[in-house]
Symmetry: C2
Subunit: 384 residues, 2 copies
């Protein structure tokens, strides 16, 4: 069945063949079937396309590509709201951070995790997210990481193995042994379920050398790679990761000028995670500096129970515009095409002919409203 | 018909008879009829209350008082998203600010304004707002201010006359003549529809002397009064307003120590408007300083098309916690009881026996999630 959306106030295509990278068409129309965009153009051109099954009048509202949330830790159990409350009050809180979630997640049944994940994916979808990446990383044993990958795989094609999230309590003092487990048996177990491998390279997590080993093991299997880096301080992590050909460097709060130049000269995406900076009171990275240097920037929610419990890509856009120096159109591009580039899927993040028909109609006349109306969910209809 | 909500994970009552001003009950229950809270207590106590018509299991979710949004400019027409985009990019934008909205609002028919307002009130309600104040201020003639008050009155009992919003173009150079119009014929025309009068006391709007005259005229009619003050700089406005007995001072970004002491020694509420600070990149007021000095603080959205186009009280809570030094419970109190005190309605903002039955069930186990899950609408059910 083909659908023609007519009378679109503003259609954001991200199709560079329309003049610039945003490819915005005013007074637009777009036609698609269940899977694929068939045609896009102006509303007056659409009058010459009579052969569609269903016509919908968008009454001047905007249509954008569905959001691509390329960085989430969505499969977990337990509640850490009191840790958040203590952090915001600046008081000590003795709970164990990620380890708290690892314990709760290990203790949950498959069905409990499946129900929690289903609810969170539904919430994300209602906020306009049509592609979502989900990381493991709250299992940290062969059995539990495999289980998280398997359950996540029921909800998305984009599952990422993050065995190197934190060193589990039982391996403290034997970190290299844990790394051997991650790059060996754990990777063996999860490989059939995942499309990528991520590592958390930071003081208190994994060293640059440990991360290099894991990224090498992942590449040897033909998996895409990502890195959490430069969130808490500068290090050699970004340079190492680019040498190893990562698809994305995520966080990037503390980047040297050399890091920025190296990112700009690479095929890698720098993924900004405004929700995490918001909920941890970290300084906001300067997206303007990155964009002006030619770095490809993605925006993602980093949805997780410790540092960023939101699935709202619109909220991330609003923060990126308020705090990081992005324009609304840059932020929207990063939340769609930026994520698609990070995930390596060339058929999403845009609405060109042949793209996947992942469309979001907004209760707004243009995309600026995503930042202009903070805290509001403007998503009216999702087609995907 | 009486309803008993059982198995509430956390019930926030704001009832000081329960120990502190927040009156939080864990594992709680609450009974109400269509209008009034009949009883609240623990879930085990509820087992001894068999005489209700309808029982609902909240499955451990939190229940809070409905939000009281005590400061909005909700009745307007027109779109100013491009002005927002330009401001965020730091570029000049030649449109006329409030005057743009005045023109669009005057040009709209009653039915158009009614439809726009109905949509916005519905959005607010879906975000958990059960009481909303609506200001006039985009008419600025006797006829148009009366019209806005009349239409707003169809949606709320809390309509505020804001003829002194900005000097309309036709009175530039004759500001005092406009003030005479506001305090005389315009106030006469709107008085039957409104419960309060507000003035915008700031460079570029109205002087302290002009505002004093209007506040006096309002008090002479027995109307409550409010003031927009100290948003852009310090002045005598706060002291003058407190001398005139205002119910609230709104904004308060630039307060002297004397202002803070005077507020703490008064019955007035200081209303913080995080959405406006967010969307104009103003510095965030220090709520901690106010609370520690003993000032009564309210939070409201200031929903308007120029500086804060959001109806999300939860977003305002999240910003107040991230940026203003409030705890989640302080922010929730300010978003409920604080607003009720500003509006002078003693039966809302709390869930004590005899309070209005305005309740919101959250998709969350406790109120902390309002700040912990930024950008998400956690409202599951609204009773009002």
């Amino acid at each position: 069945m083909t659908t023609l959306l007519r009378n679109i106030g503003e259609l954001v295509t991200n199709d560079p063949s329309r003049g610039d990278r945003y490819g915005i068409v005013s007074n637009a129309a777009i036609e698609f079937d269940e899977g694929v965009v068939l045609w896009a153009g102006t509303d007056s051109e659409a009058r010459e396309r009579p052969e569609y099954d269903r016509g919908i009048d968008c009454e001047g509202r905007a249509v954008i590509p569905g959001f691509v949330d390329s960085h989430t830790h969505l499969v977990f159990a337990g509640d850490r709201s009191h840790e958040f409350e203590a952090r915001m009050a600046g008081t000590a809180y003795s709970a164990g951070g990620i380890a708290t979630t690892v314990s709760a997640t290990r203790a949950a049944s498959d069905d409990q995790l499946r129900a929690l994940l289903a609810e969170r994916v539904t919430e994300a979808r209602a906020q306009g997210t049509t592609t979502i990446e989900i990381k493991t990383g709250y299992g940290l044993t062969v059995e539990h990481e495999e289980r998280l990958a398997r359950i996540a795989r029921e909800f998305t094609d984009h599952v990422t193995f993050l065995g190197a999230h934190v060193v589990p309590a039982e391996f403290v003092g034997r970190e290299d042994e844990y790394v051997e487990l991650v790059e060996g048996p754990m990777l063996d177990a999860v490989a059939p379920k995942v499309s990528a491998v991520d590592v958390f390279c930071e003081d208190g997590a994994f060293t640059v050398d440990q991360c290099r080993r894991i990224l090498q093991a992942a590449r040897a299997r033909g998996l895409r790679t990502h890195i959490h880096a430069a969130q808490l301080g500068t290090s050699d992590s970004v340079r190492m990761a680019l040498e190893k050909g990562v698809a994305s460097v995520d966080h990037g709060t503390y980047l040297t000028d050399d890091d920025v130049a190296a990112l700009a000269g690479s095929d890698a995406v720098l993924t900004l995670l405004p929700g995490a900076d918001f909920s941890t009171r970290q300084p906001y990275p300067d997206a303007r500096r990155l964009l002006d240097a030619g770095v490809t920037v993605a925006l993602a929610t980093n949805c997780n129970p410790g540092s960023s419990f939101t699935q709202s890509m619109a909220f991330c856009i609003a923060i990126a515009v308020r705090e990081m120096g992005m324009t609304p159109r840059e932020a929207l591009w990063s939340a769609t095409m930026g994520g698609a580039l990070s995930l390596g899927d060339t058929r999403i993040g845009k609405l060109a002919v042949g793209s996947r028909a992942h469309l979001v109609e907004l209760d707004a006349p243009n995309h600026i409203h995503l930042a202009y109306r903070p805290g509001m969910n403007l998503v009216r209809t999702v087609w995907a």
